[in-house]
Assembly symmetry: C2
Homo-oligomer: 112 residues x 2
DNA sequence: GGAGTAGTTAGGCAAATGCTTAACCAAACG
DNA sequence: CGTTTGGTTAAGCATTTGCCTAACTACTCC
């Protein structure tokens, strides 16, 4: 249970490792136990756990214990934060294109 | 001029630093010289240049020299790659919700 | 042409990162 | 209950990262 929202750069950082990216993609298809997430990766289990810790700290996943099995699940709203950030950049970019369009229109009009 | 597309994790990594994130956001509003990008950051110019190198290697920006001034500009299509990745995760997630919805419908029907 | 300005390169350092092994804990199973 | 399985913790190491300073190059301006 996180008390605060991790900064965006920490979310990007969590996705900045191929193994962590792969695990997030797998979890997009549904919750999975640690051992399943670890299976395709050629690394030790403590290394996998460390990666999962990074993802959890970034708010990208959450996990709970079921007996001796730890189930991990994606936190989709954190991906939504990335989406929102991208949308903000896109709208800023489109505003620029609009202004450029207006400028080109004004030039065409003053030429006609 | 990059010969190959940087892997997604390298793009995420490039955004995983607050200073680099801030510079990308600034460039969303239009091209800017290095000195302007450096101004709000409290760090040495070589450090700024190193960060810009990371962004350029990740395909997020491109730059060119105008006399002694280096102008940097955003590569919006690389942000589009992130968008596409997020969209893929979202559609996977929504497919899961649809399947859950179907399952719940089937239960409601067999109860009626 | 000299001084100032904008950037570039090289080398170095401390901290962070991404692994490892070893030892341990806890649940499940026969 | 003993063994197996799934995970956890701690410590350590090599590499990477994110800075720095110093020295340099190149352009602009007077």
């Amino acid at each position: 249970m996180l008390n605060q929202t991790p900064p965006l750069d920490r979310v990007f950082h969590a996705l900045a490792d191929p193994s962590r990216l792969a695990m997030v993609e797998r979890l997009g298809q549904g919750p999975a136990p640690v051992s399943e997430l670890a299976q395709p990766l050629s690394m030790s289990l403590p290394a996998v756990l460390q990666h999962l810790g990074v993802l959890e700290a970034a708010g990208l996943i959450r996990s709970h214990k079921q007996g001796r099995v730890r189930i991990c699940a994606l936190e989709i709203q954190t991906l939504g934060r990335l989406d929102a950030w991208l949308a903000a950049q896109k709208s800023e970019w489109e505003r620029r294109l609009d202004r450029l369009g207006d400028y080109l229109d004004a030039i065409a009009r003053s030429d006609a």
